[in-house]
């Protein structure tokens, strides 16, 4: 039985059984699925404690999101009248519909978190230098794309959160200099939040942004290989190059019998030795499947334990009090709340300063950072090298500041966006209309 399954598998996907080490490598190159991977991979770059496989985990979440998202598309109606009802149907009328939506939601929030933590890992290990600068930028774009997918995604249920997030989000866009109001008109498909707006964000969410992310993700992975794999092997390669090469003994046949001599030392194209590397399949593929299954089961567990939030149906005349963005945007809400400045007669709105300029500066700093990195080459591919202490401190401080703003926004803000201690009672307000 198992033998016939294997024969069928080989017939379909692997028509050529390898007979030697070399042939095994070639077999990987010739396999439809495995040709994505290098034939050989270093044990060092597969280390759990170096990368924590964060990128793979984020990519696994994206696969889960694509599959659950396509399934949700069969039930969701992108109409302002029926969107909210179709979400309620998913929750109460569709078998396992709630589970599906929950898993999509938690996978999405997980992807935002993991994409950021993955970026932090790359930063703290100094793995964005040299030829990897371009891939670092692609990574920043992927993080931005992930945030845009999240934003367009939580608008679709057309609940109160969705409606007021679109209202605030597009008003922030309208504060941009010169093109602001055009951008708002384009995003809304008019001057008011309505059916056109929902349809635009729907198409962005289910086709445009995922397509862009898939293409960028493919490029991201291709560049990892073209840049010589993970930066984890940089210290190992330096060590190998510094080692005196033992030239292996060889024997050749001459007229007078065996003649002892020496042969050349063989290094792989990665600058590593044979003993540093193993075949990608099954060593890399097995770990990948393990990461995917772990991530899948975690999201499923979360989906079973916690329900995705859904507020009341969109009501254009009443703003929830307080109206809070999801955690990954609430730090921006804190910024726009407190960055309106008055310079004489000129007033700069928080929408422009905290909603556009400050995030743009953060983004520009991320993109430009590698060009100002002057740390030595041996600070690459290791965690928290002493030579990068100051750089890592800057990254950590900015990250902690963002986390503090998130905590303030989530737990300390009460009605009318006033500050309260988590334990102090919030006023119970009559619905003043």
């Amino acid at each position: 039985m198992a033998g016939s399954v294997q024969r069928l598998w080989h017939k379909l996907f692997w028509p050529w059984a390898p007979a030697s080490e070399r042939e095994a490598s070639e077999a990987i190159v010739r396999n439809l699925w495995l040709h994505w991977f290098p034939a050989k991979v270093s044990g060092r770059s597969m280390s759990w404690s170096y990368s924590f496989w964060l990128g793979t985990a984020a990519a696994s979440l994206f696969v889960i999101l694509t599959i659950t998202g396509v399934m949700l598309m069969f039930f969701y109606v992108p109409s302002t009248e029926r969107a909210y009802g179709s979400i309620k149907d998913l929750e109460y009328a569709v078998s396992f519909g709630r589970l599906l939506r929950n898993q999509h939601r938690w996978a999405a929030e997980g992807m935002v978190a993991l994409a950021f933590i993955h970026m932090a890992r790359v930063f703290f290990t100094g793995a964005y230098r040299g030829s990897r600068v371009l891939n670092w930028m692609v990574g920043v774009a992927l993080l931005l794309g992930t945030l845009m997918l999240s934003f367009t995604g939580y608008l679709l249920p057309w609940d109160q959160l969705a409606y007021w997030a679109i209202t605030v989000g597009t008003n922030i866009a309208s504060q941009a200099p010169v093109l602001g109001s055009t951008m708002r008109y384009l995003l809304l498909g008019g001057n008011f939040v309505g059916q056109q707006t929902l349809l635009r964000f729907y198409v962005l969410h289910v086709f445009f942004l995922p397509a862009v992310i898939w293409i960028m993700f493919a490029y991201h992975m291709w560049r990892v290989r073209k840049d010589g794999g993970l930066a984890a092997i940089v210290p190992l390669r330096a060590m190998r190059q510094a080692e005196p090469k033992a030239t292996p003994q060889s024997k050749s046949y001459s007229l007078f019998g065996l003649t002892p001599g020496t042969s050349v030392a063989v290094m792989s194209s990665m600058g590593l030795e044979e003993r540093d590397q193993v075949a990608s399949s099954p060593n890399l593929t097995r770990r990948m499947i393990l990461v995917f299954l772990t991530v899948f089961n975690l999201t499923l567990l979360l989906a079973m334990l916690f329900n995705a939030p859904l507020e009341g149906p969109a009501n254009p005349s009443v703003t929830p009090n307080p109206a809070k963005a999801p955690w990954y945007f609430v730090w921006l809400q804190e910024l726009v709340s407190s960055t309106t400045v008055h310079l004489g007669s000129i007033t700069l709105s928080g929408g422009l300063l905290g909603g556009i300029l400050l995030p743009a500066i953060l983004l520009a700093a991320l993109i430009a950072w590698p060009f100002f990195d002057r740390s030595p080459a041996n600070a690459e591919g290791v965690w928290f090298p002493r030579q990068r202490n100051r750089q890592n401190a800057v990254f950590a401080i900015v990250s902690v500041a963002i986390v503090i703003l998130i905590i303030v926004g989530l737990y300390l803000r009460g009605p009318y966006w006033h500050l309260y201690w988590p334990w102090s009672p919030r006023p119970v307000l009559p619905r003043v209309l």
Partner: protein, 152 residues
């Protein structure tokens, strides 16, 4: 360098194909700016003036407050000038639930991120005896429609 007729024609040919391609992209992009909007008009009628009690009345359909002081009427927008949430009247001031802006009874900014006061809309009495508001026309603070109740 001498350019012969053949080269010029070749570049004209290639150029026109490329120009057509770019124009197509432009046309596709233009489609995303709607020409016809199915949006409510900016001028609309409210209830007759005598239906409004003294003080502040919220009109949830049009997101504005009708303010009546004796026989004087004015209309203040309920849309926060910061990022567009609906402000709430709290007896003495307007407060915004999104980012904490506060406005006084006349819409002037007390505190918070709002960059400008809540606008006052032009309000008139329509021939059929209803309050009529033009939300595209703002009037200075202190303007008011006087005396429609006595007339009615």
């Amino acid at each position: 360098m001498e350019t012969d007729r053949r080269t010029i024609l070749r570049w004209l040919g290639k150029g026109s194909v490329f120009a057509a391609f770019v124009a197509q992209i432009g046309a596709a992009a233009r489609a995303f700016f709607p020409n016809v909007l199915y949006e409510p008009p900016t001028t609309f009628k409210l209830k007759p003036p005598q239906d409004y009690p003294q003080g502040y009345t919220f009109d949830s359909q049009h997101r504005l407050f009708v303010v009546r002081a004796a026989a004087k009427f004015h209309v203040i927008s309920a849309v926060c000038t910061h990022l567009g949430c609906t402000v709430q009247w709290r007896g003495t001031e307007f407060d915004c639930p999104c980012h904490g802006s506060r406005f006084d009874a006349n819409g002037k900014v007390l505190s918070g991120p709002a960059p400008s006061p809540l606008p006052w809309f032009e309000v008139t009495l329509s021939p059929d005896g209803l309050l009529e508001v033009d939300s595209a026309a703002t009037v200075p603070e202190g303007s008011a429609l006087t005396g429609p109740v006595e007339k009615a």
